[in-house]
């Protein structure tokens, strides 16, 4: 059976499962629509959280980023897992005890202010749409490469599937579909990694394989990798090319941003008890770690395979480089997508791939007759091309396609749900039309989800040029706006309405402004995005950390000079700190 047919069968089968689950788990009440009725087992919730959290970025892009950044890629590994420690200890149990439906609702109640709730809704919608656009782009890439259809067709199919289970099933449908999607995506990620690990080192555990000796007897894999890449003028794989303070700030912004992302927080509203919220965060991290501990191995092995495929012999010898005519099939296939490009700059019919930005090495390369690096490889193809590079059977390639789609759809559904619930619950029910019935609210939630899907599809088809840049926004804004006010809402009784609103707005505008200044989203950047221009040497990716500190400081200072929170708010805080008496999540 050829690859295309097989891919259609595997992907079609997974779609059938998702829709079957959706029909089986229709939501009947707002409680089921927003928080799955509050009765999800902590391990099931952990698995759903894993699928919710691991997006197209985790599945498709991260290992590729690590492959090219080496040690520098650690910011994603630590940043996107360490936040779960914060979630488990500082947020999840207390928000579960509070027992309502949305993050803005908590902020509105704790700070006794509709303004605070609305500011939170704005942050939430901006963060979530940024994310959704990225997921839809992921769906488009997978469809166009593996199923050879137009991106538009792929998007419509993907949107229809999400429509069925998010609009009908709400949080209940999304939760159980995400469990199925987790299984698909983790198999798709780990199976090729195990195969490649065995091929390179003979050790089937990828986590150990990249610290093992190579099967060809040339020593430890990472030592060999360091040598192979430095021979071509790149930085050593295990050393970084970012400053320590920047690595620190980016890791912190990603961790805190993770803990402040509304679609992640809301997952912990679905478990039955406070103690389940704590352990469920642990289970979520177990399922996430299965992918995240494999990713650095995939990155290192992919970099090694790619480099040694192109640089077949001694650096500088005329026969040392792969001849373009003899390039492997996977290169030909990816060339047609435009994500892999070859340009024969010196006209010798061979592929030279090296670091031509390294001046010292570029001079040496010129003496070999090299005229610049001739291969451009997009980060995003490393995971998707991996099974082809390792010459794995077609069913593995089909599985990877299904895994990429599962990762993108599961995250998109989770995001669409928080968007729709913040519109129907916080904006309509909570602010504009408080006397609407539960039935009307449920209908409003469904309509909001449907509209959000259409907007997301549009963004996926016409990706604004800045999709990649706004990812920094999403984390920076979550870290600098939502996270601090939630934490202070639980751990301090003195932070008041004025302090929280001032803090949120300070964090928001500072972070937004800084990223705008260097990245220029709607305007041209006002300064070059280089370390010399950065505040304290912190890049826009890490600036959310500074925004967070400012948020805390401003909220604290303003609260000192204004009236303390009223008595019933102090009692609410005391109430959420104690576990007993948490009912299932309920409406008011």
């Amino acid at each position: 059976m050829d690859l295309k047919t097989l891919t259609y069968i595997v992907v079609g089968l997974t779609f059938a499962i998702y829709i079957g689950i959706a029909l089986w788990t229709r939501a009947a009440s707002t409680g089921e629509f927003y928080v799955a009725g509050g009765g999800v087992h902590p391990i099931v919730n952990g698995m759903a959280t894993g699928a919710d959290w691991m997006s197209a970025a985790s599945f498709i892009s991260m290992a590729g980023l690590i492959a090219f950044l080496g040690y520098g890629g650690s910011v994603y590994l630590m940043g996107w897992t360490g936040g779960y420690v914060l979630l488990a200890m500082l947020l999840a149990p207390y928000l579960r005890k509070y027992g309502k439906f949305t993050v803005p609702e908590f902020i509105g109640d704790r700070y006794y202010s509709k303004t605070a709730r609305l500011v939170a809704v704005v942050c939430l919608i901006f963060i979530s749409f940024t994310y959704v656009a990225g997921q839809m782009r992921g769906v488009g890439i997978v469809f166009s490469r593996f199923m050879e259809v137009e991106i538009l067709t792929g998007l419509i199919v993907g949107m229809s599937i999400v429509f069925v289970y998010a609009v009908l099933g709400g949080m209940k449908g999304v939760t159980y579909t995400q469990v199925a999607q987790y299984v698909v995506l983790i198999l798709a990620y780990t199976v090729p990694a195990v195969f490649i690990a065995v091929q390179l080192t003979g050790n089937p555990l990828p986590q150990l394989a990249f610290g093992s000796k190579l099967s060809d007897g040339s020593g430890y894999m990472l030592d060999r990798l360091n040598q192979v890449v430095t021979d071509l003028g790149f930085a050593a794989y295990t050393a970084g090319n970012k400053s320590t303070i920047d690595v620190f700030a980016i890791t912190c912004a990603l961790m805190v941003g993770t803990a402040g992302l509304p679609h992640v927080i809301v997952r912990f509203f679905t478990v039955p008890k406070v103690r389940d919220a704590r352990s469920s965060a642990g289970w979520a991290l177990v399922f996430i770690a299965l992918l995240y501990t494999v990713a650095p191995a995939v990155g290192a092995m992919a970099r090694f395979n790619l480099t040694t495929t192109v640089q077949t012999g001694v650096v500088g010898s005329p026969e040392g480089n792969l001849s373009y005519e003899q390039r492997p099939d996977w290169m030909k296939r990816w060339e047609t997508t435009g994500l892999l490009k070859f340009q024969d700059l010196n006209g010798d019919g061979r592929i030279q791939y090296y670091n031509d930005k390294n001046k010292a090495f570029a001079e040496k390369a010129a003496s070999f007759g090299w005229k610049g690096s001739e291969l451009k490889v997009d980060n995003d193809i490393m995971v998707l091309a991996n099974p082809e590079i390792a010459k794995l059977p077609n069913w593995v390639i089909a599985l990877v396609a299904a895994g990429g789609i599962a990762a993108a759809l599961s995250t998109a559904a989770g995001l669409l749900l928080v968007i729709s619930s913040s519109i129907s619950h916080d904006l309509l029910k909570g602010t504009l039309t408080p006397d609407m019935s539960e039935k009307a609210e449920l209908m409003a939630g469904r309509i909001a989800a449907a509209v959000a899907i259409l907007i997301a599809g549009y963004l996926g088809y016409n990706p604004p040029g800045f999709v990649a840049q706004v990812v920094a926004f999403a984390f920076g804004l979550a870290a600098s706006s939502l996270f601090p006010v939630i934490i202070m809402g639980i751990f301090s009784k003195t932070i008041n309405r004025e302090g929280a609103i001032a803090g949120m707005l300070t964090g928001l505008f500072f972070t937004f402004g800084y990223i705008l200044y260097f990245k220029g989203i709607f305007i041209t950047p006002m300064a070059d995005n280089i370390p010399a221009n950065w505040l304290f040497g912190i890049s826009p990716e890490g600036i959310g950390t500074v925004g967070m500190v400012l948020n805390f400081a401003v909220a604290f200072a303003v609260s000192k000079v204004t009236a303390p929170p009223p008595r019933e708010v102090q009692e609410l805080i005391e109430h959420i700190r104690l576990p007993y008496g948490a009912g299932t999540a309920q409406s008011h």
């Binding site: 690590i66 040690y71 890629g73 650690s74 590994l77 630590m78 897992t81 360490g82 779960y84 420690v85 488990a88 200890m89 500082l90 149990p93 986590q207 990249f210 610290g211 093992s212 000796k213 430890y220 894999m221 990472l222 030592d223 295990t238 970084g240 320590t244 690595v247 620190f248 890791t251 912190c252 008890k273 406070v274 103690r275 704590r278 352990s279 965060a281 642990g282 991290l285 177990v286 770690a289 995240y292 501990t293 650095p296 202070m488 751990f491 301090s492 009784k493 003195t494 932070i495 604290f556 008595r567 102090q570 009692e571 005391e574 700190r577 104690l578 576990p579 007993y580 008496g581 948490a582």
Partner: protein, 93 residues
Amino acid sequence: MSDNKPSGRMDANAVDYWRASIRLIFICLAIWFVCSYGFGILFVDALNTIQIGGFKLGFWFAQNGSIYVFLALIFFYASRMNVIDREHGVHED
């Protein structure tokens, strides 16, 4: 940032419970910080002089080790909190 001034309804037991929770969180987050920001970032060069198998130790903490520590921490925290809940009689059901 937390103040422990009881506002009437909060009894001595609840204050005690809250102190115990904060102490546990503080210990866990200290370990969290040392293993990720410490071993993986601030002292990575020093730790990289130690090699275990094919891994430089600092690099391993940054790319794999810290994640295992995070996992152990959350489960340790969750089980310790269950004990603290019971000791103070504030557990569910």
